[in-house]
Amino acid sequence: MRVLVCIKRVPAPGARINVSADGLAVDTAFLGFTTSPHEECAVEAAVQLVEDHGGTATVLTVGPPDAEEQLRYAASVGAAAAVLVPADGDVDPQRTAAAIVAAIGRLEGRDGPFDLVLFGNESADSCGFQVGVRVAHAVGRPVVNGAKALAVDGAVARVERPSEAGLDRYALRLPAVVGVKEGINLPRYPTLKGRLASKKLTVETLDVLDAAPAGGLTTQRLRPPAEQGGSSTVILGHGPDAAPAVVDLLDKLGVLG
């Protein structure tokens, strides 16, 4: 089977997120970058499906040339092909979806259809909750988000997702689109062999963003929320001797029962 996974390069923030002087981006001067967590699990899910059923996992990103780092990381854990749709800066969700649809059209026209297209449920940075759904509508395939389990059984993708009441199950006829959530699996670490293979991988570039029209949501600026707390932390004590003070507090807060 052929699986496409759409991933996003995002900063890996520590304790706080600083904004660049122009207010348009996260200040990444002192930050590393990573694959958005849900998508890291989507890559693992794709690699496991290919291990079980044969075929190939392809990763695709709409992002800066540096996003090659995340594409190669995906290759180091088992993706066989990688596609970069070059973009400068933030791309709005409708335009991102349109570019991915165009890229899928090109790839499928040349190499045949993807049985599954996987997305993260939402990206860690912009949290738009929509690109996968938009792509699914544009290509006319069924889509379910929030997948915490995914298995392929013949021509059907079986998806489980938690709900308020328990667990919902879906059965999607392939080809289908699935939005994956972290927790669906524990992503593997790259092996030495995988790292070496990823260095040799040719990343294909598809310039399809220019033809994708801008959407109706336009970012004006980013700003951090007002700082909370700060130096007002009450120190209850040091080491095990603090236990009585902690229990006094639990009692005062009414949770001792």
Partner: protein
């Protein structure tokens, strides 16, 4: 102008987040606030929705709306948008709310802004808004041009509030493509009622500082003693020490207990956004400068492996004295 609020319900059981969305809709000052409920099972919810300010409840009737299905609900909502021509369509930014709005936005070819905390409507079809990025650790200010404006309200951005009006129900049959049946729930497993991480009154959380899977045993003991649940940070799940179902954070569970005892957790953004709704936070950490310590209301400086058993022992001692 008018605002249509999506009623989130599970076969007739109302999701409380809907009432927040109704309260949020009133802050928009965008004309009448009406509700749209997908599926005839939602009809009996009309009086509760009217209690919370829905001046009309539009019920969409179709056999594919008997149970939840993302595509059926998306098409059902799109049909109601076509029928009611609202200026604003709003839902709560829950998993279901964001999913249905994304579908409706894709079908109507309109933009969608998820998890808004403030919206100003400059004119019909034009808004400036503030929405959450990074699970709430960063605000995005954006402009939106759309008919209708499709928005979700960040959970807990406003509290639900009563604003009683006379209930009015209008039920109509809607057209939904038959193929939308392909993504309707085919089967479900009901969870036994009981304590969950999301609803526990006390959560005892452990991070990298716990050091191992076995290291969680004292945290489990304290959680049992306090009638609470055990949580953990992403570092713990990534190390395979605990299941992802215990993970508190942006990509895990959002908790809102009375007390969160955060043990050996540095307090990175990823974790903090899942824990920040706790009413009171007690951090236990060897590092007095840890982010979790500076953000918490209370802290114990010390090694959790000594502190946590001492707290459990003290709780037990007081209980035995009280008896």
């Amino acid at each position: 102008m008018s605002t249509l609020v999506l009623v989130e319900h599970d076969r007739g059981t109302l999701a409380p987040a809907t009432l927040e969305a109704l309260a949020f809709a009133r802050t928009l000052d965008a004309g009448a606030v009406e509700a749209v409920a997908l599926g005839a099972a939602a009809e009996p919810l009309a009086s509760e929705l009217a209690e919370h300010g829905a001046t009309a409840v539009h019920v969409a009737r179709h056999e594919l709306l008997a149970d939840y299905g993302p595509e059926a609900w998306g098409h059902g909502l799109a049909a109601m948008i076509a029928a009611c021509s609202p200026d604003v369509v709003l839902a709560s930014g829950t998993d279901v709310g964001n999913e249905v709005l994304a579908h409706a936005a894709a079908i109507t070819a309109q933009p969608f802004a998820a998890n808004c905390v403030a919206v100003t409507i400059a004119a019909p079809g034009r808004a400036t808004l503030t929405r959450l990025r990074w699970g709430g650790s960063l605000f995005e200010e954006a402009t939106m041009t759309a008919r209708p404006l499709i928005l979700s309200a960040a959970p807990h951005a406003v509290d639900a509030a009563r604003s009683p009006v006379e209930p009015t129900v209008a039920t109509r049959d809607v057209e939904i493509p038959t193929w939308a049946a392909r993504t309707v729930v085919v089967d479900r497993v009901e969870r036994a009622p009981g304590l969950t991480l999301a609803t526990a009154p006390v959560v005892v959380g452990g991070g990298r500082g716990v050091g191992s899977a076995e290291g969680f045993a004292p945290l489990e003991e304290l959680a049992v003693e306090l009638g609470g649940a055990v949580g953990c940070s992403r570092a713990v799940t990534n190390n395979g020490w605990r299941n992802h179902t215990d993970q508190v954070g942006q990509t895990g569970t959002r908790i809102a207990p009375e007390v969160y005892l955060a043990c050996g957790i540095s307090g990175a953004i990823q974790h903090w956004v899942g824990a920040m709704a706790a009413k009171h936070i007690i951090a236990v950490n060897t590092d007095p400068d840890a982010n979790m310590v500076s953000k918490a209301g209370y802290a114990v400086i010390g090694d959790l492996h000594a502190v946590v058993p001492a707290i459990t022992a003290e709780v037990r001692r007081r209980r035995s004295v009280a008896e």
